[in-house]
């Protein structure tokens, strides 16, 4: 692929991880919503009849948790808070109002994406633990009923927060043109990289390319 005006942002393995997660999360979230909002019980049909959906949901939930652990290892070093995150927060209104121009010193992920990362990490972990407690076929009988009730409430609340967070994530992908393509093909344009992740471009993309850049010039 001609990389003269595009740069690799997400490697194949990481993209595969992301989209496998999307597929599993979609199935788990839809079936879960069908039980939280019974008026929307048809959402559970993505996993077949309701009995089958109930059977599969927790196993798929475990797959989501395992994928999450892989994601943690792969992405955590890009998502540690740094001092320059403050610049993004101070310009949050400009960011949301689509006013470009300021140099926000954004690394591979901006502060909002880091919040998303840690939000997803903590919420899916909470869903994993509470999900085991309410898993009637294998674990729920080992917990007193008041604990199961609390776990049910916590599981629902965490799932709601997570799904709303993910809706925000999906919207940002649609709003920021080039990002969904970036997660599918792995490549973003140089202009995109400079506009949305200037510090990442300056500190990681350019230095890695220096030999080839010299060759081209």
């Amino acid at each position: 692929m001609d990389t003269s005006n595009r740069v690799l942002r997400t490697k194949f393995g990481d993209r595969l991880l992301h989209w496998t997660m999307v597929a599993c999360f979609f199935l788990v979230a839809m079936s879960g919503l069908s039980w939280f909002f019974p008026s929307l019980h048809w959402l559970g049909s993505v996993l077949g009849p309701p009995q089958l959906a109930r059977l599969l949901h927790p196993f798929l939930g475990i797959v989501v948790f395992l994928l999450l652990m892989c994601m943690f290892v792969r992405f955590v070093h890009h998502n540690m808070p740094v001092r320059t995150d403050g610049i993004w927060f101070r310009h949050i209104v400009d960011v949301l109002m689509n006013r470009h121009g300021e140099n926000l010193r954004i690394g591979k992920y901006n502060a909002g994406q880091k919040i998303l990362f840690w939000g997803i990490m903590s919420l899916i972990s909470a869903l994993f633990v509470t999900g085991l407690v309410i898993w009637r076929a294998y674990f729920a009988m080992y917990f007193p009923i008041p604990v199961v009730r609390l776990a049910l409430l916590a599981h629902s609340a965490a799932a709601l927060a997570l799904i709303l967070l993910v809706l925000g994530h999906i919207y940002m992908g649609i709003w920021v043109r080039g990002s969904i393509g970036g997660m599918v093909t792995g490549y973003v344009s140089r202009a995109w990289a400079r506009q949305h992740h200037d510090r990442w471009y300056d500190e990681e993309v350019v230095p890695e390319e220096t030999p080839s850049a010299k060759r081209r010039s």
Partner: protein, 315 residues
């Protein structure tokens, strides 16, 4: 009684804005009254229940008490509880209680159930599980204030006493009532059973049981299985029968608070995103050359045709 006793007044996981048919005339509420002071613990009711409902639970083992099986199961819907209690004067009392579904007026199982129509409440007060609709999640177990429903390991569905809804529908009393040799279990309209209970409580009081009374707990709107207890002031003595049962505030919070808040959260999030997109427009990339005099600059200009390609990628 006609088949009208099968009129459904509440259906699990069904929106309150779309209630079940309600236009037909009032139907008498039924109740089972269990007088613990007349129970001899013969377990005839357990046998009759198994026989009528065609339940064949494993024959239990002696675990040191007379309760057999040791607990309710998906195939044992009623169990006589035997509790040995010593009062202040060291006098031993053997308290018996036939445990099973209480058929609450406000059923916690039905509130918690996520499967439409898996739990029904009939106009006569009977709360019945529809096994065909049950998905085996066990939420009914968390919702029940009395710890009654059990999930079968054979088919992953929840079971409990039906109050012999099939018998009651054709004008018969439940199997346990029919078989009880001491007359400790009575069945009729709820009003009649309350009158009968008042007589029995009066008699027990006249015989010195000052704490005698009717157990028809208001916290769940009353029940369609009631007890006459000799110690109604201390129901916990009867195998931890709760003094003030009600649907747990956690279950209420989950169903009555988190659910509407969650629905609003969804609407607000989707509406907010849409409004933002309409107001601000897509966040497109400015593809004009970067001001820094970098080697890539020329390439960037040459590659001006990558604009359309990028649009295509976004599509």
């Amino acid at each position: 009684m006609s088949m009208q006793s099968q009129d459904i007044i509440r259906r699990s996981a069904t929106n309150g804005f779309t209630p079940t048919p309600q236009a037909r005339s009032h139907e008498t509420e039924v109740a089972k009254l269990i007088d613990v002071s007349l129970c001899t613990g013969c377990k005839g009711c357990q046998v009759a229940c198994s026989e009528w409902n065609d339940l064949r639970d494993e024959v239990g083992h002696n675990v040191g008490v007379y309760d057999n099986p040791a607990d309710l199961t998906s195939e044992t819907w009623t169990v006589i509880r035997f509790d040995e209690v010593e009062d202040e004067s060291d006098k031993l009392e053997w308290l018996l209680r036939k445990e099973g579904c209480m058929h609450c007026e406000e059923p916690g199982c039905l509130k918690a159930c996520p499967s439409p129509g898996a739990i029904l409440q009939f106009a006569n007060g009977i709360v019945d599980f529809q096994s065909e609709q049950c998905i085996g999640c066990g939420y009914c177990i968390a919702g029940c204030p009395f710890d009654i429903p059990r999930i079968s390991e054979k088919d992953n569905r929840a079971y409990k006493c039906t109050l012999c809804a099939d018998r009651v529908a054709v004008g018969q009393e439940p199997a346990c009532v029919k078989t009880c040799p001491t007359g400790a279990i009575a069945f009729g309209s709820k009003a009649e059973m309350k009158d009968l209970a008042a007589d029995r409580v009066g008699e027990l009081k006249s015989r010195g049981h000052e704490g005698a009374g009717l157990y028809d707990p208001a916290g769940v709107g009353g029940t369609h299985v009631m007890y006459v207890l000799t110690h109604a002031d201390k129901p916990e003595l009867y195998h931890r029968l709760p003094a003030n049962p009600s649907i747990s505030p956690i279950v209420r919070g989950w169903k009555e608070w988190l659910k509407p808040v969650g629905a609003l959260g969804f609407i607000a999030t989707v509406a907010g995103a849409f409004a933002h997109y309409m107001g601000v427009g897509p966040n497109t990339t400015d593809e004009t050359p970067h001001p820094d005099p970098e080697p890539e600059k020329e390439l960037e200009v040459e590659g001006a045709d990558h604009g359309p390609a990028e649009d295509r990628r976004d599509a």
